[in-house]
């Protein structure tokens, strides 16, 4: 039987605020245990939550970015359960009326084997504001668990999709797109190691063609794209094998073990899913007016999709190039800064996606800490455009700049060209003289060319370049040589 996998994601993004969602305690990562756990975080009796304006604005930004309905009035609810890292006995979340409603994200699924790359729209069901729980640490004291409530109350936006994805590749493409988007609009730092962006993945399988969904299992807390792929692939295989062996799937929450590459059901908590949500009487309804939306809209950067369209229209870039350059805000900013510094867009696009990204990948760095600044790259490309240096020489200059301090005089493009003697010969008289010598010295090749051997032409070019020690402008050499050979 042919099976189809159905995937939906719930992503917890930690919002970029200074303070907690309901109190003025810092959310800075890495502080000593409980030094950022104020009376609200530890739930002392009598304390009241006061909603953080910045967290609300982050949610509005996200709603605008995915073209979603933003609720004029949304409500905070209590999700009741007992766990030591949740001292109130309930998590404040949103249930019936979330701040962000239906929206959509367009993903690019990369080519894979015989499958070509394609785009797909993933529908967003909702996004709601909620507070994070604390952390439980085990093993420090025998028979006890340690509780750190620094993270309790950290603002989260939980983003929920429709079950629209049909492969691990689509799920990962969505997660990556969302990861870039929340950083692009600056509502989340995207740091997956520190848990700022965590995904829960719902996976079910059904016979291909069947309309009814299968029973789903939820893989909790995936914080790397690699693990996400492995976990979904393992879980899908496991579900298909279970069904083919005549078994059934029980709805469950599962954890992925990166060491074994397997998923395993968590001890099913008795009645765990009866959260008895009800509106939190400590919080009034959240109102978002048209004026609030307009104010936030004014702070929004150009979105990747709009920027992509503009790059295609303004710079004549291909859809592929424009998509690659808008894959992250850092890349887009680097490209734009280089073009604004006076370089032509197409060569900049080629260099950013070629030499620059190859170097960054090889050294496992991001463009944000590229050793070459946009102004330097622009200067380099201007020297190619005005024929001062050849493309080959530009690559040499690039290599030197890459390993020099970008603020030092040694990293100056013109200084490197002068120091290394890379200036190309563009004086046509000088080039003609070189070519004349080459023609005299290589009569045999000239004869071959005249006899119809096209290859001899390239050989002569090679000789001329060699004679000029690689400094002759190749385009001019080509042109002058052609003229001389056909004139004879």
């Amino acid at each position: 039987m042919e099976w189809e996998v159905v995937i939906g994601l719930e992503t917890h993004t930690q919002l970029k605020t200074n303070t907690k969602i309901f109190s003025g305690a810092s959310i800075k990562y890495g502080a000593e245990p409980n030094t950022q756990a104020d009376e609200v975080s530890i739930a002392l009796p009598g304390v009241l939550p006061v909603l953080n304006k910045q967290a609300v604005e982050c949610a509005i930004k996200f709603g605008l970015a995915i073209n979603a309905e933003i609720a004029p009035r949304s409500v905070f609810s209590r999700k009741n359960y007992f766990y030591p890292d949740l001292p109130k006995g309930y998590q404040i979340s949103q249930f019936e009326l979330p701040v962000v409603g239906k929206g959509a994200v367009t993903i690019q699924v990369p080519a894979n084997g015989k499958n070509a790359a394609y785009e797909k729209v993933i529908n967003i069901t909702r996004a709601h504001l909620e507070e994070d729980a604390g952390k439980s640490l085990h093993g420090a004291v025998e028979g006890m668990s340690g509780i750190d409530l620094n993270r309790a109350g950290t603002p989260l936006l939980e983003i929920v999709t429709e079950p629209d994805m049909r492969s691990a590749a689509e799920a990962v493409a969505y997660a990556k797109k969302l990861h870039e988007l929340v950083q692009w609009i600056d509502i989340c730092d995207g740091n997956m190691q520190e848990g700022s962006f965590r995904c829960d993945v719902n996976v079910s399988v059904r016979p291909k063609g069947q309309e009814k969904f299968g029973t789903r299992r939820e893989i909790k807390n995936l914080n790397s794209f690699k693990f996400m792929t492995q976990a979904i692939e393992y879980e899908t295989r496991w579900q298909i094998e279970t069904l083919e062996d005549g078994g059934t799937i029980q709805q469950a929450t599962v954890l992925f073990n990166p060491d074994t590459g397997e998923t395993r059901a968590m001890r099913s908590k008795e009645e765990a899913n009866d959260y008895r949500y009800f509106p939190d009487p400590d919080l009034l309804p959240l109102e978002v007016t048209a004026a609030d939306k307009a104010r936030v809209q004014a702070t929004m950067p150009e979105l990747p999709q709009a920027m992509k369209t503009r790059f295609e229209a303004d710079y004549g870039l291909s859809a592929y190039d424009a998509a690659a350059l808008t894959a992250s805000r850092d890349i887009a900013d680097f490209f734009t800064a280089t073009v604004n510094a006076g370089a032509e867009a197409k060569p900049v696009a080629n260099w950013v996606m070629g030499a620059v990204s190859a170097k960054l990948n090889a050294e496992d760095r991001t463009i944000h800490d590229s050793p070459i600044a946009p102004a330097q790259l622009a200067q380099l490309l201007k020297r190619v455009a005005d024929n001062t240096i050849s493309n080959n020489a530009a690559k040499q200059v690039f290599e030197i700049m890459w390993i020099s301090d970008k603020s030092s005089a040694e990293s100056d493009v013109d200084a490197i060209i002068a120091a290394k003697g890379l200036k190309q010969e563009s004086d046509s008289g000088a080039i003609e003289a070189i070519i004349d010598e080459v023609l005299v010295a290589n009569q045999a090749m000239v004869e071959e060319f005249k006899a119809g051997k096209e290859k001899a032409f390239n050989a002569l070019i090679g000789q001329a370049m060699k004679a000029s020690k690689g400094k002759a402008n190749p385009a001019q050499v080509n042109e002058i040589l052609k003229k001389k050979l056909t004139a004879n």
Partner: protein
């Protein structure tokens, strides 16, 4: 909706409340009375009325995102429960609150 004694025990368990048979029966009577009141209210025609999520018809005021809380760990942990089992020591360790081991 009629409640029975099993519902009462389940609700108590979810709220981690230990109740005796007698208390369970008393609670059943009280809750059934409250549900009766709600049934009466539900008979009122509320067509066209927006449900309220709060008794006051006002909206949430927002707080500026500025750190106003300082570290008060020592004061808070001075009020932490004691370890128990004969020990009068506070159930804290290197800044952490200690609880019976959480098994996952």
């Amino acid at each position: 909706m009629a409640l029975n004694i099993t519902d009462i025990k389940r609700i108590a368990h979810l709220a981690r409340l230990e109740i005796s048979e007698q208390e369970a029966n008393q609670t059943l009577t009280k809750l059934t009375g409250i549900l009766g009141l709600i049934e009466q209210m539900q008979a009122v025609d509320t067509t066209g009325i927006t449900p309220m999520s709060h008794s006051q018809d006002v909206v949430q005021r927002l707080r500026e995102d500025i750190v106003t809380k300082t570290n008060q760990r020592e004061e808070f942990q001075a009020n932490a429960p004691v370890l128990g089992n004969g020990s009068t020591e506070k159930a804290t360790d290197n800044g952490l609150y200690l609880v019976p081991k959480v098994i996952e």
